[in-house]
């Protein structure tokens, strides 16, 4: 285990040059006719990682999973598992199992037959299979449903059968294709934590495909954000949220405000920029940019304060008018129109009751943020 700057042990094998990755994509390209689903992709996935592939539909994330499972073969490049080339290994001989988006439970088999299916193919004895199936049923808390058929189960139960079935053979890598997509929000959130606990206790490497950014943020040790067959950024959830490398990423994960500015001056990592509406802003950034070049400030709504009085102790202030308030119970998002008509969103926790709210529509307000709140982005 690596030790971070605070002296805490953290799980960061990707920062440890001595570790070899479990899975390595080496310049993998997958084309279907004229369409390029995966474009010269190079990725490393380490043992015991919970790796999330996140992106809009058609970005190539499912193709990536199917390449690993062996249902597709790369047009170019190699996929290595534990240092060995997987290209010639058929899907039924890979130490990789997949949990399908549709669950793909065999409708004519009982829950226990479904879970034992993979073990039966290995030619294990009946007693061995029965023991392992019982163990898996206990793991997903479905022991009393062993004899049921899939159509007699609820959606959440089916999801757990699919999970148990894909884990029964104790794969080196488990692929999960939108595993929680069919569940309702409450159940999905609970299942996310169950998945994380399971992954930690079993020590199996998980690779999850999802289009739900919150889900990826919650479960993953690292996230690869994909767009048009390319991994645009691969990083921990916190790094992706706090230090996106492009406006695409900043916009894809969470809510964000963009302000277009020109770099005025810099002293070390202290930058002075001027917005298109001539307001100067200060920020801390080590972005390599020339004086006079265009920088976009990306500021998360929750990092912007709102007040009726002009704040005196903030690095950046800007005046505007409240034109809309989106109330969502625990928080409110204020849409504030500033100088040139740009709308800036700010998220505030509703610490007071709604009737005591001091800011309302058409109020003149001051928005402020510190010099570390904004991220400077060149693209």
């Amino acid at each position: 285990m690596a030790v971070n700057t605070n002296g805490n042990k953290v799980f960061e094998p990707w920062n440890d040059p001595q570790k070899t990755p479990l899975i390595r994509f080496e310049g993998v390209t997958k084309r279907y006719g004229d369409f390029t689903a995966i474009d010269n992709l190079t990725l490393d996935i380490y043992e015991k990682e919970f790796y999330a592939l996140l992106g809009p539909s058609g970005c190539g994330k499912t193709t990536l999973l199917r390449l690993l499972a062996g249902f597709e073969t790369p047009t170019e490049g190699r996929i290595l598992l534990g240092g060995k080339d997987l290209s010639k290994v058929p899907p039924n001989q890979r130490p990789v199992n997949m949990m399908f988006q549709s669950y793909a439970l065999f409708p004519h088999m009982s829950v226990e037959k479904n879970i034992g299916f993979g073990l039966k193919q290995e030619g294990r004895s009946k007693a061995e299979i029965a023991d392992r199936v019982a163990e898996m049923l206990k793991l997903v808390q479905l022991t009393e449903f062993a004899k049921r058929k899939p159509h007699q189960l609820s959606g959440g139960q089916r999801q757990r059968v699919a999970l148990a079935r894909s884990l029964a053979k104790n794969p080196k890598l488990l692929l999960l294709d939108e595993p929680l997509g069919a569940l309702d929000k409450k159940l999905r959130e609970r299942t996310q934590f169950e998945l994380m606990n399971l992954q930690e206790s079993l020590g199996v490497t998980f690779m999850i495909v999802t289009h739900d950014q919150e889900e990826a943020m919650t479960v993953a040790s690292r996230i690869a954000i994909m767009d048009k067959g390319i991994a645009v950024q691969v990083d921990t959830p916190a790094a992706i949220y706090e230090a996106p490398n492009s406006r695409y990423i900043a916009d894809f994960i969470g809510d964000v405000n963009f302000i277009e500015t020109t770099l005025g001056s810099r002293e070390g990592d202290q930058l002075q920029v001027t917005s298109t509406f001539n307001t100067p802003f200060k920020l801390q950034s080590d972005i390599p940019a020339d004086i006079g070049s265009t920088l976009w400030l990306a500021i998360r709504p929750e990092k912007i304060a709102i007040s009726k009085q002009q704040p005196t102790d903030k690095d950046n202030i800007v005046q505007g008018e409240v034109i809309d308030i989106a109330y969502s119970g625990d928080t409110s998002t204020y849409h504030v129109q500033i100088a040139d008509g740009t709308i800036v969103k700010t998220l505030q926790a509703n610490q007071r009751r709604l009737s005591n709210r001091e800011i309302t529509w058409e109020d003149k307000v001051w928005l402020s943020w510190t010099n570390t709140a904004a991220i400077a982005l060149a693209k």
Partner: protein, 302 residues
């Protein structure tokens, strides 16, 4: 509260019910009645017949004159139960051959590119656009001694003398398999086409070979189609008359042919009716089994 009479439902159920009573149950009862009568050289060629204007007494007199003589006759003469057995055998093996031929066709259809599927299914049902009789006649042209097939084989040099194909049980099998193939392919196709591809992928992912995945997943899941197809071929093949008559020879014994002989050669309507009633009873058993299976399949699907 008095429930209101639902006229809409009454008509919806009433009309088909009336249709079945009039055109299905009534003819059946007439056939049943004839089967219990005696042969007569008269018009109609059986006795007793209901005499118009004799009222309830006339009906009573008619019922009293009826007996099971014809059914006992069926047991006495070998020709009948040999015909039933032979029909059973021919229908059974034709069904097996049709299944063996139809399954790969249906599988290929279900796996074909989606834009082609409609056209390919159309090709399967294309023969229905020509009369059944004409298509069976066409097989005579193919199978006869100086027919296409013999010419072709002679030309290839595989044989020196024409094969005796027509008027054999072999020709009957060809005729039945050819005629009923679409009835096998269509239900199989329906069962295979709606199957989720990811099920086979899941089986492969869990370590089976392609063949293992077929026998453990694809085939069991297409069972409803297999059973439906087999019944759709077996039941009509059992009573088939045209094919054994046109393509079969003197050795071909099928109950449909025997029935036809009784009616038109012997003009023994009562025995012919008894043959028909027994055939119906023999087929009711598989039909009931078929319906139970359908119900079970529907339950599983819901």
């Amino acid at each position: 509260m008095k429930a209101e009479f639902n006229w809409g439902r009454f008509f919806l159920i009433g009309i088909p019910l009336l249709w079945l009573l009039l055109f299905f149950l009534t003819p059946f009862l007439i056939v049943l009645k004839i089967s219990l009568s005696d042969m007569a050289t008269a018009m109609p060629p059986y006795a007793p017949a209901y005499e118009a204007g004799s009222g309830l007494l006339g009906i009573w007199a008619m019922i009293q004159a009826m007996d099971f003589e014809n059914f006992i006759w069926l047991l006495d003469d070998n020709i009948y139960w040999l015909s039933y057995l032979s029909s059973l055998k021919i229908a059974f093996f034709s069904t097996i051959f049709t299944l063996l031929l139809g399954y790969p066709i249906a599988y290929g259809l279900a796996r074909s590119p989606e834009k082609w599927r409609g056209f390919l299914v159309l090709l399967v049902i294309l023969p229905f656009w020509t009369s059944f009789l004409i298509r069976v006649y066409a097989w005579i042209g193919i199978l006869k001694s100086e027919g296409f097939l013999n010419h072709f084989l002679l030309w290839l040099g595989v044989i020196d003398d024409p094969l005796a194909l027509i008027n054999t049980n072999f020709a009957v099998y060809i005729g039945i398999v050819y005629s009923y193939l679409p009835f096998m392919v269509l239900p199989l196709y329906a069962a295979l086409e709606k199957m989720d591809d990811s099920l086979v992928e899941a089986a492969l992912d869990l370590g089976t070979t392609r063949i293992g995945a077929f026998w453990q997943v694809t085939f069991p899941l297409s069972m409803a189609g297999v059973i439906a197809g087999c019944f759709l071929v077996f039941i009509p093949a059992m009573g088939e008359f045209v094919i054994p008559d046109l393509l079969g020879g003197s050795e071909t014994l099928m109950i449909g042919k025997t029935l036809w002989g009784e009616f038109f050669s012997n003009r023994d309507w009562p025995v012919a009716s008894a043959v028909a009633i027994v055939l119906l009873l023999l087929l009711v058993v598989p039909i009931l089994l078929f319906q139970r299976q359908q119900e079970k399949a529907q339950e599983a699907a819901s």
